[in-house]
Amino acid sequence: MGNALVIPAIVAVTLLTVGIGFYGLRLARTTSDFLVASRVVSPTWNAAAIGGEYLSAASFLGIAGLILKYGVDVLWYPVGFAAGYLALLLFVAAPLRRSGAFTLPDFCELRLGSRRLRILATAFVIFIGWLYLVPQLQGAGLTLSTVTGSAYPVGAVLVAVVVTANVALGGMRAITFVQAFQYWLKLTALAVPAVFLALQWQADARPAVTPPDGPIFRTATAVVVEHPATLTFPDGEVREVRAGETLSFAPGDPVPEVSGVATDASDWLLPSTAGDDDRGLFATYSLILATFLGTMGLPHVLVRFYTNPNGAAARRTTLVVLALVGVFYLLPTIYGVLGRIYTPQLLVTGQTDAVVVLLPEAALGSGTTGRLLAALVAAGAFAAFLSTSSGLLTSVAGVISTDVLGRGSVRGFRLATVIAGAVPAVLALNVSGLDVSQVVGLAFAVAASSFCPLLVLGIWWRGLTDLGAAAGVLVGGGAAVAAVLVTVVGPPLTGWPAVLFAQPAAWTVPLAFTVTVLVSIASRRRVPADIGATMLRLHAPDALRL
């Protein structure tokens, strides 16, 4: 791509992240400073930090890529990612903070007093954390190879090393400042180029997003084929292309249809309709359920709530996060839509995840403005990988250090961080070809089917027992994990089985709730004796200080 500004921008973001980390290290002195920021973080900082941690590669790159490829149906991803915070606010935020639980395993032990349930929850936290970390590292590798032409492992290893070192040395206090900074960087990195892109679109006499004859190439474009595919040209010509072939298109040429991509204008522009295909509707509702209910079960999201001083502050922080995240999610749509006009070759290559990174130069030319904005976007993308991986790593390492290694010391935490960072790095190097957004969606589905019933029923229902919770997590979460494994490493499926495994939430979440409730009722005698005191502690207003 030859943009000389991209590498300095990425280096600057990385150095700033590490720099703020070390600045925080000087402030972090005691173990509690290290782990929970001694709860002196203000709500605004905390909210920006939660937002910064939450907006991952899937949000920054993946959503725009999906919109470019599939159109209006995938707008449910950003809506669901934001709505997840509403569900968190309504059902979890304040009581969870009042419970004093730092991690999900803590909550299990506190609410149900069961060591075995704690171990089960620990296993799920680690699984979800790693499932979510792998695509972040992969996104880093793909982005770096797209913008600089480096080999794929470079970006993945770079992010893994920087994040592991930073978390191991700085702990969470440093991370709070880093994360808050990353949120504003990510917002700027998408918002500023979006303004320029919109102006450019105006200046180009507002070319139609969906021309009647399908998308066309605006400039002469050469596409190198990486995987064999079937291309259908608008004049009806069908052509098989092999890897290594170079396709050249002149300005004004129509974009050929690649098997599986919505090039057709009405497919892209309009929601899927009922009738011959109910699977689309099922997949949409499944996605809605997974994202709405999965956010509360993500390990790196819950840890943050402990840094609020009390339940009311946790509630207000969540509302601010919802607003910050909502503002951010207005932007990827613009990239996805303008990508149809300026980077149609991505529809042919299938590398739609690169649209955010490539669009500024494609639309604005490779003059100074275009290159500066491209560098800004690349920096933002790196901020996304660094911040989400840091948050995930902090929580996975926290769980490993307390529940697996059994030490609460700073040294134990550092050892746990190295372990927690090494595993996904190795996986990311060896498992290539996973789709970033799809894997993130699966992580949400697992979280929604395991921890959501545990949290919601644990907070609001006195009748929950340890057996019921364990059965729900095992059956619901286990079914979701099985679906993930089938989707990722299993044989390719078609028809209903494909939808049921690729978007499992619509059946695994109800299953988890049903099993939890039924087993709890059957084991009614195991309801903890101190349930009244626990409910009082979870729900009594902070002002009473009971």
Partner: protein, 154 residues
């Protein structure tokens, strides 16, 4: 991390702070002698007003205290469920609406097709609005509960 002191102790809902360096206890120094005061039993019984009694009832898990907490939990849960019903109907109804009435998704507002406008733009302020009203109403529920518990007997 002090995970083991999360045991729910009645009357100790909030730990005073994260475990830090041990706070200097005034051990060793003799306690400052309080000036002697005359305690009249009638005064004590008058001070033991209803607020204190209710708080004790809450902390000691008496029938009354438990009923009060149950009421609060029910009110908060009803509020959360009501608002999620609003979201379920308003947002969850959209895929269904688009599916059974495709003509709705053809409507164009300000040059943008309605589904794009609703999902890409309008849904976010809507979610924030619901969240904002939840925070207000939940805090009002808690204020009502606090007033109930702390109201002096008349």
């Amino acid at each position: 991390m002090a995970a083991d002191d999360h045991r729910p102790v009645p009357g100790a809902a909030e730990r005073p702070g994260a475990p830090g360096p041990a706070r200097p206890e005034h051990g060793g120094r003799p306690p400052v002698p309080q000036p002697r005061a005359r305690i009249v039993l009638a005064e004590v019984s008058r001070r033991e007003d209803r607020a204190d009694r209710t708080r004790t009832e809450l902390a000691q898990q008496t029938r009354v205290g438990e009923a009060l907490v149950r009421g609060l939990v029910r009110a908060q849960l009803a509020l959360a469920l009501r608002l999620s019903l609003v979201v379920m109907i308003a947002l969850g109804g959209l895929p269904w609406l688009f599916a059974i009435a495709p003509s709705v998704s053809e409507v164009t507002v300000l040059g943008v097709k309605l589904p794009w406008l609703l999902l890409g733009v309008v849904s976010f302020p809507f979610l924030i609005g619901v969240g904002w009203s939840y925070v207000r109403l939940a805090e009002r529920n808690e204020q009502d509960f606090t007033d109930l518990v702390q109201r002096p007997e008349r």
